[in-house]
Symmetry: C2
Subunit: 184 residues, 2 copies
């Protein structure tokens, strides 16, 4: 009932479940422990999160939890569309410092598997984005870290002028990647 594709970044996968459409709308098994495990996606997801971003132009990120608090994330969009951006910050990884962007939307039904040790963020491309993700490690405010989406070193190509992005105060004050790397 699902297809799994590898991507350029090591261990990052795109999962597309089967969608059953009919006169009412559709039905979809968005997660099945046994089907996902059989497809090689074997994590113990302990928490489900949802954020609503009311407007296009909301930018959340780039975030991750340090050390033992690291989280695998299984991400999807229920309404609207985002550009989802991840950066491999696993020291020693062959794709270290590389970033990729993925369009996730209600209509493409795609899920993105983001391994532990990646930084993650997204830009909403529409109003009213309901963004859902499962994680395999609990939220830990003390281990919460990140770096600025504006950081120039990585060359991330966000399709928005930075001063137009709607962000949290926390994200407006994140360090550059270079500063972040010193303490990682």
């Amino acid at each position: 009932q699902l297809t799994v594709k590898n991507t350029k970044l090591q261990d990052v996968k795109i999962i597309t479940p089967k969608v059953f459409g009919d006169n009412r709308g559709f039905f979809e098994e968005t997660y099945s422990d046994c089907d996902f495990k059989e497809a090689g996606i074997d994590f113990n997801f302990v928490q489900d999160n949802q954020s609503l971003s009311s407007r296009a132009g909301v930018l959340r990120g780039l975030h991750f939890q340090r050390g033992k608090a690291a989280q695998t994330k299984l991400i999807r969009v229920v309404t609207g569309a985002v550009l989802d951006v991840i950066v491999d910050v696993r020291k020693g990884s062959p794709t270290y410092k590389q970033w990729e962007g993925y369009i996730l939307s209600a209509s493409n039904h795609r899920q993105l598997l983001v391994p532990r040790g990646f930084a993650h963020g997204f830009l909403t491309l529409t109003d009213n984005v309901n963004f859902l993700y499962k994680v395999d490690n609990y939220y830990n405010a003390e281990a919460d870290g990140g770096f600025s989406f504006k950081t120039p070193e990585l060359g991330i190509d966000w399709p928005i002028e930075f001063d137009k992005a709607i962000t949290s105060e926390k994200d407006a004050a994140q360090p550059t990647f270079t500063e972040f790397e010193k303490n990682n």
Copy 2:
């Protein structure tokens, strides 16, 4: 981070997680294994489901899985609103044959815990209802059963004329509760 309320029907609970609103929209932990267990909601949810009902007036139900395939359901609405209806069909339960209706909506952030042995259905009150639920037992087409939402014996008060309801062919052909009860 969550409140739990008991309801008239035995073992049925309404859960309301904490919602963090800000300039971007909101953030919510919709499920946390440890927080839910601490609050007495202790199930091994193995599958997540989503249905989209495009129009107001879609009626799905009343469904349940028989015998060993029975499912506990943890239900919520991400967009729009529904009238969610459950019927206690656990033989020997003090609330056997009793039904209750609950409004679940994106704005009330409510989750309904439906125990094994209940029949379940819902009527969409708005267009574009994204309806999500976690279950603690896999889908089993052979054990899938139910009875007609039109069944007169239970006196369920659906706020729609039956011939206006948008249903599946399967649901249009479900037996009455009396017929269902004979084989349950």
